[in-house]
């Protein structure tokens, strides 16, 4: 095999630019205020094949470089080419991948290479060089390099001017993966003292507690078990490493949601309540949904599949799933977030017999991007986390051809320890397939062949599920981080949807956490057994041990069952799409999860023990309300200035720079886009899509998130999140009678231990959160159809532990009868009457304005009454009326009132419309003018209505608390009065500048 280096750099002729270099220069300026001067880029390819440099050189322009805009050469280091670098750059940072890390450009290049050079195997690894032509002297080279690569997955070489001048430059070489030898399965002795069992779990990253380890040990003491094992030829008295790893994955918090399933002893010090809750999930999430399922006919599949499915109309059903990818995103923001989004896409593809992903949602929680405080050395600066996570979901979503239609970014210091990366996807599938089967139901039978489809298995992604069930520390393993490969997945998606429509699939699920052990293990419950041959699994690298193949979470893989008669058709389709599909297992009805490697049995676990054997946790919960200094705003504040400051708060400011980089319109269905109004830069409340081309029936997708309220009461946080999602949906005219929700909990560890002395309180927060979830969802007739929890969102070790504020994202998807009748947040025309729907209470506790004034040092505390939703039943009635007014075409302007209250919402409506408004807040509710401006009371939506429709609107809203508060004007002034007092007078252009500037972060574009 020969190794040839090809390097490519942009031409420097008239009108040509080196944009990659420009971006590095601009971002360093935007994030750090440092001007590093001109930066030039070189892309490098290291090619291992049977071809020599002289054979490759003539085809460089056909594959690697663009003849119009680039120069490329084989085996000629461009840094030493005087045509491009007349004098050697001050510093060049070259970044390449570590061995075994997914190299997407390399894979694509190799695909192109094989078209022209088809003989024999070839491998390509890529790198990028950033040449800083004239670097200021005071810039530390290592620091500069550290901003350009992540040492966990990448390596870098620094080349100085001096090295180039003296001919001592070194170059990156092909990332050699050390060969590994397959280890035969070992037998793990569990007949140990308790502390030895715990040590075994901890050192093996199994994340199993003592009771669970003992339960596993006891399984192997059971005589019938021993007899069955002897019979099949596997160690009778003790597990193999394959079995122990498989159980650890399947029983992980990540897969089994043990905290939500636990028995909780709950004490409330306020009310003296002392009760036992047998599973929060069953009590507060599952039961309410099942009760609601008795009242409606459109809940097709809830909780048991990869996503929840509802009937949208007679021909189509829709489903949605949201996931978090927090721990991987903390370690590698780009790769972690990308695998998050492409992973949740696979959940949709793995729902029923396969749904097509049609929309993504992204909600992130980060530390403040302008953070200047202390930062533990192992954590990335929040601005870097933001850039990396954003790039990951951007690439993952855009390259998959799935529009990102809704989302949010929330900032709080405590997310520095652990960012939250929520990725959601909506799917669409025909109600029935051509052969009459309902596509939301899986129907495998024993004898069906089980294929692994898509990517190969590697050592990347081993222990992801168990790792995410532990807190983040310095020693967190790099193997838990992966980079997604959206194109491999897109090809697989195209192929599997074609296979579904050809009725070739009997069952499918994705390979996510726990790898094949989870995917095949879960599917085997349908037929009550399976037999896997790990020897057949295609590997990225030879030598992986049986347990590694079974639990590896290597990406872009689906597990698909096919009837034996359809084998040839299925494999032909895979070949057409250039997708790897390998039969690795067969469904049985033996009652066993039977794993072989070649002829050798390496795991033999009863299906019931694997899935139902995990013992229930018993936990302690105790609620004492947290004490806060009351929020007492100074009475001499200039509210106009305060409004501009509030609009520039990261939690409120426009995220347009970031959101525009997501494709929100691919598939040609997006009716209400993330930005609305005359300049298309006002905030969209909910995503609205019409996914069947030519048909105006719509789907609404919205979300709500309110972590600040957890500081006072996590129950109020949950109520606010749900109400926000519903309000946003109402703003575009959702069908109130057909909407479904998803609850995604991210919590700090709520189990009391030495590491977590306040575990009882954190668990009590979870109890209160779940109780509110049930109360609001029942009142709103809003069934939760899917959800997820991530329960170890902490960084570091007590007492220096950073815990996130308890956070629940509520996502909503629902029907919209006719997208031609919808509303957007921008004020439209002079003379429209402005109404506030809903009542304003004195609810400034943990409000955005309270946090703002506290951070500014104006007040001592954020305490006070947090927004409550006391009567959700009558609130639903208000929403029904308002939705009807939108669906009737009476209202075309509506905006949700949330962070920053009435003042911020009205300002945003003026910004979207680039018009003024005059508003009087006298009589809209309780409290002084400050309270009425900034209070975040729930259930409120601002609308504007044309004079000709005003009476009809008032009539339709009869019985609801609505307030005529003002009028849209032609001026550029936003004026708020309280009776005779003018309290805000602001120029809309200035408000726009405040709102749009804060999170721009693009640096200067020439």
């Amino acid at each position: 095999m020969q190794e040839v280096r090809v390097e490519v750099t942009p031409l420097q002729t008239d009108g040509m630019r080196d944009v990659l270099g420009d971006v590095v220069q601009r971002q360093l300026f935007a994030d750090h205020g440092i001007d590093v001067g001109k930066v030039r880029s070189i892309r490098g390819y290291l090619i291992r094949s049977s071809y020599s440099a002289s054979e490759i050189e003539p085809r460089v322009q056909d594959i690697f470089s663009d003849p119009i805009i680039e120069f490329g050469a084989a085996d000629t280091p461009l840094l030493e080419d005087k045509n491009f670098f007349p004098s050697p750059p001050a510093l060049t940072v070259t970044v390449g991948f570590k061995p075994g890390v997914t190299d997407n450009p390399g894979a694509a290049a190799n695909d192109g290479f094989k078209v022209l050079f088809p003989d024999g195997d070839s491998f390509i690894s890529t790198y990028v060089s950033y040449a800083f032509l004239q670097l200021p002297d005071d810039i530390d080279h290592d620091w500069l390099a550290s901003t350009l690569f992540n040492g966990l997955i990448e390596k870098s070489i620094l080349t100085t001017k001096e090295q180039l001048e003296s001919g001592n430059a070194t170059y990156l070489t092909y990332p050699e993966r050390p060969s590994i030898e397959r280890q035969a399965p070992s037998i793990i002795n569990l007949e140990l003292a308790d502390e030895e069992l715990i040590r075994l779990s901890t050192e093996g990253l199994l994340a199993l507690n003592l009771n669970e380890m003992q339960t596993i040990r006891d399984h192997y003491r059971d005589e019938p078990t021993r007899a069955a094992r002897t019979n099949i030829g596997i160690s009778p008295n003790a597990p193999t490493d394959v079995e122990l790893e498989c159980l650890a994955q399947t029983w992980s918090e990540h897969c089994k949601h043990k905290i939500f399933a636990s028995k909780i002893h709950h004490i409330d010090r306020e009310t003296n309540e002392d009760t036992v809750i047998d599973s929060l999930f069953k009590t507060h999430i599952m039961k309410p949904t099942h009760d609601m399922a008795k009242e409606v006919d459109w809940l097709l599949s809830v909780f048991h599949d990869n996503s929840g499915v509802i009937a949208w109309n007679d021909d189509w059903s829709i489903c949605m799933k949201a996931e978090t990818h927090n721990s991987p995103s903390a370690l590698d923001p780009y790769g972690g977030a990308m695998t998050g989004i492409v992973g949740v896409n696979r959940d949709i593809l793995g729902t029923g017999l396969g749904a097509r992903p049609i929309a993504n949602t992204d909600v992130f929680c980060f530390g403040p991007p302008n953070w200047t405080g202390e930062l533990p050395s192992t954590l990335f600066h929040p601005s870097r986390v933001l850039r990396g996570v954003h790039a990951g979901v951007r690439v993952g979503g855009n390259e998959s051809g799935i529009p990102t239609i809704n989302g949010s970014i929330v900032f709080d210091e405590r997310y520095i320890g652990k960012p939250l990366v929520y990725c959601g996807t909506v799917g669409l599938m025909p109600r029935r397939l051509a052969d009459g089967r309902e596509s939301h139901e899986k129907n495998p039978i024993p004898g069906d062949l089980v294929y692994m489809v898509g990517g190969r298995v590697g050592s990347d992604g081993i222990h992801g599920a168990t790792f995410s069930s532990l807190e983040l520390t310095d020693e967190s393993p790099s193997s838990a981080v992966q980079i997604g490969d959206p194109i491999t997945q897109k090809k697989m998606m195209d192929m599997l949807l074609e296979a579904r429509d050809a009725c070739l699939i009997t069952c499918t699920t994705d390979n996510g956490a726990g790898g094949l052990s989870s995917s095949i293990g879960e599917m085997a419950e349908y037929t009550n057994g399976c037999e896997i041959d790990l020897g057949k699994v295609p590997l990225k690298q030879e030598g992986l041990s049986s347990w590694e193949i079974l639990v590896s979470e290597s990406q872009e893989r689906m597990t698909v069952a096919v009837a034996p008669k359809d084998k040839d058709a299925f494999e032909a389709l895979a070949q057409l799409h250039e997708v790897e599909a390998t039969q690795v297992a067969t469904f049985t009805n033996t009652g066993y999860f039977h794993v072989k490697h070649g002829e050798e049995t390496v795991a033999y676990l009863p299906i019931t023990f694997l899935h139902d054997g995990v013992p229930q946790l018993e936990l302690e919960s105790e609620w004492t309300p947290p004490q806060h200094v009351a929020f007492t705003p100074p009475n001499d504040l200039d509210q106009s200035i305060l409004l501009k400051e509030m609009l520039a708060r990261p939690n409120i400011a426009s995220k347009e720079t970031w959101v525009r980089q997501y494709d929100h319109e691919v598939i040609a269905q997006t009716v209400v886009k993330p930005f609305v109004g005359v300049e298309r830069d006002g905030p969209g409340d909910a995503g609205l899509i019409a996914p069947i081309h030519g048909n105006s029936q719509g789907i609404v997708v919205s979300c709500g998130i309110a972590p600040r309220y957890s500081d006072i009461d996590a129950g109020a946080m949950v109520a606010a999140s749900i109400d926000e999602a519903v309000r946003n949906a109402v703003c575009v005219g959702v069908d109130i009678d057909k909407m479904a929700g998803l609850d995604n909990f991210c919590w700090p560890d709520p189990i009391e231990s030495e590491k977590t002395p306040d575990g009882k309180f954190k668990l009590a927060q979870l109890v209160r959160a779940n109780r509110e979830l049930e109360r609001i969802c029942r009142a709103y007739h809003l069934p939760c159809v899917s959800g997820k929890d991530s329960m170890k969102n902490d960084y570091g070790v007590w007492p220096n532990k950073i815990s996130i504020p308890p956070t629940m994202l509520f996502s909503l998807f629902g029907n919209q009868p006719d997208v031609r009748k919808t509303a957007t947040s921008n004020f439209k025309h002079h003379g429209e009457r402005i109404y506030l729907v809903g009542t304003t209470f004195d609810e400034l506790g943990a409000s955005e304005v309270a946090f703002h004034l506290k951070e500014r040092g104006d007040v001592e505390g954020i305490g006070g009454q947090v927004p409550l939703l006391e009567d959700p039943k009558s609130q639903l009635d208000v929403y029904r009326k308002l939705s009807a007014a939108i669906q009737n075409g009476l209202i075309r302007t509506a905006h949700d009132c949330s962070e920053g209250g009435l003042a911020v919402a009205l300002a945003e409506m003026c910004i979207g419309g680039r018009c003024g408004a005059i508003v009087d807040i006298d009589g809209i509710g309780g409290g002084d003018a400050f309270t009425r401006l900034w209070s975040e009371s729930l259930g409120r939506i601002i609308i504007s209505v044309e004079a000709q429709h005003e009476l009809d609107f008032v009539e339709i809203m009869e019985g609801a608390d609505i307030h005529l508060i003002g009028m849209v004007t032609e001026s550029s002034e936003f004026t708020v009065e309280d009776g005779y007092d003018t309290i805000i007078q602001a120029d809309v252009d200035e408000l726009t500048t405040s709102w749009k500037g804060a999170l721009d972060m693009t640096g200067v574009v020439e």
């Binding site: 942009p10 009108g15 040509m16 630019r17 944009v19 420009d22 056909d62 594959i63 690697f64 663009d66 119009i68 805009i69 997407n104 450009p105 894979a107 694509a108 290049a109 695909d111 192109g112 078209v115 022209l116 951007r394 855009n398 390259e399 998959s400 051809g401 959206p486 194109i487 897109k490 090809k491 057409l576 799409h577 250039e578 525009r660 980089q661 494709d663 929100h664 319109e665 691919v666 598939i667 040609a668 009716v671 209400v672 930005f675 609305v676 109004g677 005359v678 298309r680 019409a690 081309h693 030519g694 997208v819 031609r820 957007t824 439209k828 025309h829 075309r892 302007t893 574009v1005 020439e1006």
Partner: protein, 277 residues
Amino acid sequence: MSLEVKVCVLFGFGINCDRETAAVFEMVGGVSERLHVNRLVQGERNLSEFDILAVPGGFSFGDHLGSGRLLGNRLRFALRDQLQQFVTDGKPIIGICNGFQALVKTGLLPGPSEASLEPDLIQRASLTLNNTGRYEDRWVTLEFDSQSPCIWTKNIQRIECPVRHGEGRFVMPTAEDFNNLEANHQLTVRYVDPVTTIGEGIQDELLPFPISPNGSMRNVAGICDATGLVFGLMPHPEAFYSMWLHPEHTSMDIGEDWEGEGLQIFRNAVEYVRSQR
């Protein structure tokens, strides 16, 4: 001869606007088929079965090594004969976004300067990274050269539609290259300032971001070949097939006809095929 106008909409390898592209041809009376590139490469099907070829948008091969490049290579090397025959037969081809990038890198656009020549598949232009360095989704205003030979853009003066790309900056090596195309009216469609009078928006001088979303030389959004049959553009007219896709439809009084401005491009091609029978 069948009366149907058969449209081949390519898909596979990361093409991702195939469904809506197929749908808009159906809306204007065509009969679309989404066809995986490999069905043509493997010889199971042939381009000669079709009247129109559409190369939709997407991220073919992840746009690594330059957008559209690897898809362009597949077309150039694996489908060379079928593609040349299709063009020689005088059948219309459209490339949108990634499809435009692929046609440019294949060399079909702008193609040789004389209309009579067979396509030589030599690359003469390119589409490169936006000046901002960012992928962006935003709506733009486009104006068309009314004297262009392009059969796709007849009787269209100005439309709005979204761009969604990171590599949409159209470049050619010299001013002369542009002058030649301009003289032939092959610079079919340009980004224009929406405040200009319709018909007077086109200008050569570089427009600022975001009116020109990418910094294209001479504000070029799309070009055609010398025959006017092969057309490519970065913006997505198929994404404006209905008024409900317009960002400001909630501010407009639309009435009964909800057809979007983008649809006429596809109707032109279907009608052209019919007119040639």
